[in-house]
Symmetry: C2
Subunit: 209 residues, 2 copies
């Protein structure tokens, strides 16, 4: 008897269908979770719902990537690049702002950062030209950089990226190090516990690519 | 060496922290999923992000509960209550609009609905007065209702609600039925597969509370 009255069948109002479609685009959100969110939202005060919507739009409009290091910033230059209390002679190269945050949380690094916003991945068609690496090179040549700490993920793409940067940096004579022992191979910088990450920063070793 | 530079430590910009806090309020979303969403949102076009924010606000502002049956509606009366092609003599009582949708998807019911927006749950302090049951009673007395199909969840609260409604309806002499065999006890109407739900609708039995 399934479907005998199917022609008249009621669906969610268009506003709900639209919201479900929009929410389902979010990473990790499927139709079921989107439905839970919609019914939760309908039960909230209008002002609370507006606060969520405003936070979404404002963060998208109010944030940019730092002109110097591509970290998240609310102004042209991020708080770290603009800080006089940081050591601007030591640059830590990371894949993403999340990795930068993970390192900052350890409180074990007082230099500045360079965020690649990605990694080298031939499988996904991402080469060195997509990673702002030439800009990093020219900074190293122009500024009095003493050390580059490469803190890309210890997985295939991250290691490939580290190797590429290491090779590029070799002619400049700058000291190059890779974050050290302690990070389990195959995992990601973002998820490592603080103590392991701190240890790996302190045990970094100069490498000869 | 953990935390030796902790005083200067960089955190997410306030716009991100605000958005993380807002997103973490959503059901099923923790700090980690919120971070994934934020970085995904930062990578989207501004117009797409606005479309999401607009969908959230519009659905909250543009939707209400039907004056007659408490189903989701974009106008005072929902599409089902307003439809002349439905059988207005048979009312199906459900706990939530999600249950209504689940029944509609089977295409096996051509009557109208009455959405309780909850169930009787003494443990949570919800009694019959919170469920618009008096309104249902007066409709049944005033309108030419022939049958009330009780489709509350077959769990403790749902059964209690069904029992209460059945007892209340007994003096009116209206035919009362409970959706039938096929739904596993302890589960929820919302999650049952369509065929089982269709079978349970077709095998509904008149009950004598």
């Amino acid at each position: 008897m399934l479907g005998q009255y199917r022609e008249n069948y009621f669906m969610y109002p268009k506003l709900i269908e639209n919201l479900l479609e929009q929410l389902s685009k979010l990473p990790g959100v499927g139709r079921r979770s989107a439905e839970r969110m919609v019914f939760w939202l309908l039960g909230q005060k209008t002002q609370d719902v507006k606060a969520l919507a405003d936070a979404i739009v404002q963060s998208r409009e109010g944030l940019c990537f730092c002109k110097l290091c591509h970290n998240l910033a609310e102004a042209e230059i991020c708080l770290i690049c603009a800080s006089p209390s940081r050591d601007h002679k030591i640059i830590c190269v990371v894949e993403s702002p999340k990795d930068l945050l993970a390192i900052e949380r350890t409180g074990s690094f007082r230099g500045i950062y360079y965020v690649l916003l990605g990694n080298i991945s031939p499988a996904d068609g991402r080469g060195p030209e997509d990673l702002h690496i030439p800009k990093l090179m020219s900074r190293i040549k122009q500024e009095a950089i003493e050390e580059v700490v490469i803190a890309t993920d210890p997985d295939t793409e991250g290691e490939m990226t580290a190797l590429y940067i290491g090779k590029e940096l070799k002619p400049t004579g700058v000291k190059v190090s890779r974050i050290g022992l302690g990070i389990p191979v195959g995992s990601a910088v973002e998820y490592v516990d603080m103590s392991t990450l701190a240890m790996s920063l302190n045990s970094r070793r100069q490498v000869d690519f």
